[in-house]
């Protein structure tokens, strides 16, 4: 269809300082979207701003800092109801007739509860602890904890535990499939997880044969598409995760376009090369909680009850009841993904309007499981925009056993949150399968940056534990007295189970 007028102007403007530009053409070579072009006749750099996604690759690589990407300042007439973006989305849909797609987490200005919670510190009545002088323990075990102690005839305790995942810090890399992200991104995550004594998560795309060696630091995921699932895969990991839902797109499945299914992805996912990888919205063998129980036990049977099973769900309205059901389903760990969680591609409307904040979901679930006396049946892992060490501290104090991070990890790898993963043209070599782009992420650098990030967080976590007078992370778990809310209403405080600052 020919569209005589394009109503959509470029979202961004390339601002190039002609004084600074030395015509090295690095920007041109590095932009997979083809924004920059050198014109030899005029000895000038030109820009096709329609193609720009503001990924900042050119800005970061420009040796003379000649580039800035700015928001296009062209303004539609101001309207509090019809915001510019709302109108532009109408134009886009009128142009294409398609569902709007976007990536990464919900960018809308919903409340970020982490930012409205403050942490306590010891003063006078109780000493803070200096992490440089005293041991400060951040190790956690995820899994079911037995209710009763068994002893033999001599009174010795049977120390056999249900399978556990041991983490040196209560943070794991959340599920991102091979396919949605690159081989090098996976290698960075796997090697960093190994170095940090934590786990990364395969996502639903299977496990590349090269990465079986990192098995003890790997969580293997079983999602509705069952890509790459077979006995060796299940046995390779430290735990098995059943993905029921994802915070960025609760209630819908996934679609990896055939263009991203190259030879390697095809082999790993066990699907024909070039075919679309469709994950159905539900698991078609799980239409209710009793079906989930069957899958949990099928996976346990398949792995001789040696692997903890995680059930991952999106934070939705009645999450507490859902979690209670999962805790009684035989699952060892519940992972809850908040509505700000990221994705490689999601319908924009769903990403921005479905689900609830992880802070509220976590507080509600932890309380519900305790009220029912079944909190020991499961560990709780939360994700969906855990952005810093203080978010981790707050999550643990609200009741989480550990956090899942993905967006933070991608940022460490160079992601600039341009939110166009769905294009497959990630200039940072992360969300792409194009070999030319994939090689931009040197996994050695990637590993180092991830290890640095979490080493920094670990230091910060220890500092914050110390100032609360806590020297083991377990003593922080569910310790909501360490938190106070600011600017929250009674209901929000009630759900979070915390007092207001000053109380």
């Amino acid at each position: 269809m020919i569209m005589p007028i394009n109503y959509i102007l470029p979202e961004f403007e390339v601002e190039r300082s002609d004084y600074r530009c030395i015509r090295c053409r690095v920007c041109e070579r590095q932009c997979a979207n083809g924004v920059h072009r050198y014109d030899a006749d005029g000895d000038i750099m030109l820009s096709d701003e329609f193609q720009c996604v503001d990924c900042q690759r050119c800005v970061c690589l420009c040796p003379t800092h000649a580039l800035k990407i700015r928001k296009n300042e062209n303004e539609l007439r101001e309207n509090a109801n019809w915001k510019q973006n709302t109108i532009l989305e109408i134009y886009k849909q009128a142009n294409t007739g398609g569902v709007l797609l976007s990536s990464m987490g919900n960018p809308e200005p919903f409340p970020v509860y982490w930012d409205k919670i403050l942490i306590n510190a010891s003063q006078v009545t109780n000493p803070s602890i200096d992490p440089l002088r005293e041991p400060m323990e951040t190790r956690v075990f995820l899994g079911k904890k037995p209710h009763d102690i068994e002893r033999d005839v001599n009174g010795n305790i049977n120390t056999e535990l249900p399978p556990q995942v041991e983490l040196q810090i209560p943070v794991m890399f959340s599920a991102m499939s091979y396919g949605s992200i690159s081989y090098n991104a996976h290698q960075s995550l796997a090697t960093a997880a190994e170095a940090l004594g934590i786990c990364y998560n395969t996502g639903e795309g299977g496990l590349h044969e090269d990465f079986y060696q990192y098995g003890k630091n790997t969580i293997v995921q079983v999602a509705s598409g069952r890509f790459g699932v077979y006995k060796d895969y299940l046995e390779a990991g430290a735990a098995i995760e059943i993905k029921m839902g994802q915070g960025a797109k609760p209630g819908i499945g996934g679609h990896l376009p055939g263009t991203k299914v190259g030879a390697d992805v095809s082999k790993t996912r066990m699907i024909p090369e070039g075919s679309d990888a469709i994950s159905p919205a539900p698991h078609h063998d799980i239409y209710s909680i009793e079906d989930l129980r069957q899958l949990v036990f099928s996976l346990k049977e398949a792995t001789d009850y040696k692997k903890p099973v995680i059930v991952k769900v999106a934070a939705v309205h009645n999450i507490a009841a859902i979690a209670s059901g999962i805790a009684r389903s035989g699952a060892d760990i519940i992972a809850i993904d908040g509505f700000r969680g990221g994705t490689g591609a999601a319908p924009t409307r769903i990403r921005d309007n479905v689900g609830i904040p992880i802070e509220l979901a976590l507080a509600a679930v932890d309380k519900r499981l305790r009220d029912e006396g079944i909190r020991q049946n499961v560990s709780l892992v939360v994700g969906g925009s855990v952005r810093s060490a203080s978010d981790v501290i707050k999550a643990i104090a609200l009741g989480a056993d550990a956090c899942y991070i993905a967006t933070s990890a991608l940022l460490a790898l160079g992601c600039h949150l341009c939110r166009t993963c769905q294009s497959g043209k990630c200039n940072w070599g992360i969300a792409t399968q194009d070999p030319e782009l994939v090689k931009r992420l040197n996994p050695e650098t990637g590993k180092e940056r991830l290890v640095n990030l979490l080493t920094a967080w670990k230091h910060e976590i220890k500092e914050m534990m110390g100032l609360m007078g806590i020297n083991s992370i377990e003593a922080l778990r569910g310790n909501r007295l360490m938190l106070r809310g600011v600017g929250l209403n009674e209901k929000e405080l009630e759900i979070l189970g915390i007092s207001h600052a000053g109380e």
Binding site: I22, V26, P63, K439, R440
Partner: protein, 144 residues
């Protein structure tokens, strides 16, 4: 002795090393001032062949042909094994350029020879290595 090595796997063909090299050897403090409007004569250059990119610079050979062929004694090996050029002695005959099996010797508008000297005159760590965005160029001890 430490040498510059290039790992083709990670070379993106961005050519930043060439500009960093030219800037580093310009003796000028500002990159814009050093390179603006100039045709650069870097001592490292990136070979592009379709999807394959590879930066090439002097290998500092054990038995360098360039030194063997140098008619003026301008090219010598220093105590660390770095092949260096004395611009005062170079007569611009370009014999070395013809002899270098890697094509690593170039020339500038003064017509004396330019080659990689591992930035020993520019502070030690080669500029191409420092500026490589993907660690494709590394500065390491030679593997025996």
């Amino acid at each position: 002795m430490k040498r510059v090595y290039v790992n083709e796997e990670w070379c993106l063909g961005c050519h930043l090393c060439e500009y960093n090299c030219a800037y580093s050897n310009s003796g000028i403090k500002d990159m814009v001032k050093a390179l603006k409007g100039k045709t650069i004569t870097p001592r490292i250059h990136v070979e592009d062949g379709g999807k394959i990119h590879y930066a090439v610079s002097c290998r500092h050979c054990e038995d360098p042909l360039c030194i063997k062929g140098c008619i003026s004694g301008a090219l010598t090996k220093d105590e660390n094994g770095v092949v260096t050029i004395d611009h005062d002695k170079c007569v611009g005959c370009l014999t070395c350029m013809l002899l270098c099996p890697y094509g690593c010797i170039t020339t500038d508008e003064n017509e004396t020879v330019l080659k990689c000297e591992l930035c020993i005159k520019n502070g030690g760590i080669p500029a191409c290595v420092q500026g490589c965005p993907n660690r494709a160029i590394i500065f390491e001890e030679a593997e025996e």
